[in-house]
């Protein structure tokens, strides 16, 4: 008897509203009356916005045609991108030499992709980078193996954006750590110097530093000495980013319990050894999420060099759009550029999430 009832009960299926598609809908979209209302409102919003957008972007749009084909259409004029892609990406780099920045960028990307695995972080990797950077520099500047010299003033477009952000990040990180250590130091003079530097830089917009580098800096140098405009902007970006990294790293240093310092001291480690072996590895690890936030904004902020007339990828796009043939296609070109930035930033932030998980030693 009892066996039979158990068997019958086991064969009873859960109600349709709890399983499968219906169950999912019920649980995630219509579980309460206000959630149902929200769902309906959100769907209505999507229904109102999506069709005209899709019509504009895909159905009424022109993809390859000449500029004249864009004159009397309602949709997007995507052809602005294929027609100007050379200038948007490479800017004023000499015609026929585009393979050089392309190769340099591919090299940079493949080095970054290769370095992403932690088991490859050895001394050899540092040599790879050194060789890679030298080759990239050679490719960009030329002057060897019969490649004509390309002055830095002609470096523009995507290579310039990548260069400014890559070196900005790579140089600012150690500088930021030094500043953070200085701010935590017990020596009053060094501490106050670091505090003044960090607070001053963080208090002003990047634009003012870029103005400083472009119009004030030439006055600082002795007569006859001049520093390249790109390099000056690069220095401004490094100095700016370093102050922000310093604050993030300081947060990590402050989070270290005193016991760690005392244990290191009692083992007889010197200050350098304590920092290098005990404190920094832990402190830098716990601040990975905010550090990536800073690095992402450093990458995005390189676009500000537009304002001091450096031809990064945003400026080359704007120059393209100032051509009367293509005015009116700004939206399309900016969407393309936004996609480009989005891909880079999204890759960086998802890598940081993975690294954070890998480095997590908590149990």
């Amino acid at each position: 008897m009892s066996d039979l009832t158990i068997g019958r009960r086991a064969r009873l299926k859960p109600p349709v509203t709890d399983i499968g598609v219906l169950g999912w809908l019920h649980k995630n979209l219509f579980n309460t009356w206000y959630n149902s209302l929200l769902t309906i409102l959100a769907l209505a919003l999507l229904a109102a916005l999506a069709p005209p957008l899709i019509k504009w972007a895909f159905i009424d749009s022109v993809w390859y045609g000449p500029a004249s084909a864009c004159r009397n259409i309602d949709g997007a004029c995507w052809s602005v991108i294929p027609h100007n892609i050379r200038f948007i990406i490479f800017g004023f780099f000499p015609e026929g030499q585009e393979w050089r920045p392309t190769l340099a960028m591919l090299l940079l990307l493949s080095l970054v992709v290769y370095s992403r695995k932690r088991e490859r972080w050895h001394k050899s990797l540092a040599w790879f980078w050194l060789v890679g950077l030298t080759v990239m520099g050679g490719l960009m500047y030329g002057g060897i193996f019969g490649m004509p010299v390309v002055e830095t003033s002609q470096w523009s477009g995507l290579p310039l954006t990548l260069m400014l952000s890559f070196f900005g990040i790579v140089a600012a990180y150690p500088l930021g750590i030094l500043l953070a250590l200085g701010r935590r130091s017990r020596m009053p003079a060094i501490k106050s110097l670091c505090i003044v530097y960090i607070e001053m830089i963080r208090g002003v917009p990047l634009i003012s530093l870029l103005f400083m580098s472009s119009i004030m800096f030439p006055l600082f140098l002795p007569e006859g000495v001049s520093i390249d405009k790109v390099l000056r902007a690069q220095i401004a970006i490094i100095l700016f980013t370093a102050a922000y990294i310093a604050e993030v790293v300081r947060g990590g240093l402050q989070a270290m319990p005193r016991g760690q310092y005392e244990a290191a001291e009692s083992l007889g480690l010197s200050y350098n050894q304590t920092m290098r072996l005990i404190i920094l590895p832990q402190a830098l690890k716990i601040v990975i999420p905010p550090t990536v936030g800073i690095l992402l904004s450093a990458f995005k902020d390189t676009s500000l060099v537009v304002i001091i007339a450096l031809y990064d990828v945003l400026k080359t796009t704007k120059v393209t759009l100032s051509n009367p043939k293509w005015t009116g296609c700004s939206t399309e070109a900016y969407i393309f550029l936004a996609l480009l930035y989005f891909v880079f930033c999204y890759a960086m932030s998802s890598y940081s999430r993975r690294l954070e998980k890998e480095l997590d030693t908590s149990y």
Partner: protein, 396 residues
């Protein structure tokens, strides 16, 4: 009695100065100061020499000269005949205007999106998450260019202005809408509202003190809210309920009357608000998530009403987590408003930039930009320190 250690000739008693941590620190600091000082002097001397060679006059004397450039929007009266000082003041006010409105809108939008991100509704939470990802990963300058381009290219000329509702026009000259015509009732309503707010604050203080003494609560907030709506309305009725509107009209090539918001201002505000609210949403989400469920359950077990749970348990704890990063985002918004120079809104940096170009006073100009933003930041961080001290957990 005798002190052998003091007179002992052992060499190890006083370590050489490079082994003495204290003396070494002194040497390091002296070295650092000398390097920084030397660098500073070197740059200063170079600058002096360069200025003399190019015969650029230094000093802020130029501030009293005539600016002779127009500024399209201004909160105070300004014309090209005014001084540079007044032009720069107009710039500061414009920066404050866009930052102030931007901060208010960002806080509202960011809070809504942050809560939507936590919604149990899958669709709403996904939409909020995509908004946050999209906005955070695109440079704010690009967003500003995008919105400005939309204004300039997608919106029609004034003659064909879009007119979605009566009294509101959208065109490439900006957003034009009707405002109530000037009438003494409106300033009076403002004063009444201010009086209600002050009174509400006093009642709230009195109510809280009475609750501490007697345990009886007083619905100060609800009374204030009611008064804030009702009293200005009564004032409006008292003045004879003026309903005349100042309608925008097409005259020649442009609109007359009503209120115009320029495309530069709209694009700047829209870009800054959308970009910053994505960051604020993440901060709000983290703040709400930082409160453990146990807190809410405990508060409910004590018999607090949902409103009281929110007001007495959730908000005080969540705000402690939210406010510090929120202020730094507000400061970021203020600093990012300097990007106005790229789309032609006349904020402080734009005016200072024009001043530098006209007078050649680069050092003074850049220094002024830095000082103005430093004042904003330092006053904000002073406020933050005060707030953190007030809100800090009182531990036993």
């Amino acid at each position: 009695m005798n002190q052998p250690a003091a007179s002992s000739p052992l060499p190890s008693s006083a370590p050489p100065f490079w082994r003495d941590a204290g003396k070494r620190a002194l040497v390091f600091q002296a070295l650092a100061l000398v390097i920084v000082g030397g660098l500073g002097y070197y740059l200063f001397a170079n600058t002096q020499a360069n200025l003399e060679r190019q015969s650029i006059a230094t000093g802020f004397g130029f501030l009293k000269k005539e600016a002779s450039f127009e500024i399209s929007e201004s909160l105070i009266s300004y014309s090209a005949a005014d001084t540079y000082a007044r032009a720069l003041l107009v710039g500061v006010l414009n920066t404050l205007k866009v930052s102030f409105i931007g901060i208010i809108l960002t806080t509202i939008l960011g809070t809504i999106i942050g809560i939507a991100r936590l919604s149990s509704n899958w669709l709403v939470s996904r939409l909020a998450a995509s908004f946050i990802e999209l906005m955070q990963n695109i440079p704010v300058l690009l967003q500003l260019f995008f919105w400005y381009a939309i204004f300039y290219e997608a919106f029609p000329a004034p003659r064909q202005a879009l007119n979605p509702v009566k009294g509101l026009f959208l065109c490439n000259r900006g957003i034009i809408f009707a405002i109530p015509a000037a009438h003494p009732a409106y300033p009076a309503m403002g004063w009444v509202l201010l009086a209600v707010l002050v009174g509400g604050w006093l009642i709230n203080r009195w109510g809280r003190r009475r609750q501490e003494l007697t345990g009886k609560s007083f619905p100060a907030f609800r009374i204030t809210l009611l008064a804030a709506i009702l009293l200005p309305f009564l004032t409006w009725l008292f003045y004879g309920a003026p309903a005349a509107m100042n309608m925008p009209e097409m005259r020649g090539f442009n609109f007359r009357g009503g209120m115009t918001i320029s495309p530069e201002f709209s694009a700047l505000l829209l870009g800054l608000v959308l970009y910053t609210s994505a960051f604020v949403a993440e901060i709000v989400r983290a703040g709400i998530q930082s409160i453990s469920r146990g807190q809410i359950e405990a508060a409910m077990a004590l018999g607090l009403r949902p409103g009281q749970v929110l007001q007495l348990v959730i908000l005080p704890q969540a705000l402690r987590v939210i406010i510090p990063p929120l202020t730094s985002q507000m400061l970021n918004l203020t600093k990012n408003s300097s990007l106005a120079v790229a789309i032609g809104y006349t904020d402080f940096v734009a005016v200072a930039n024009t001043t530098i170009n006209q007078t050649g006073q680069a050092i003074e100009g850049v220094a002024m930009i830095m000082v103005v933003y430093l004042v904003f930041s330092l006053s904000t961080s002073l406020f933050m320190n005060w707030y953190n001290k007030r809100m800090a957990l009182v531990e036993r």
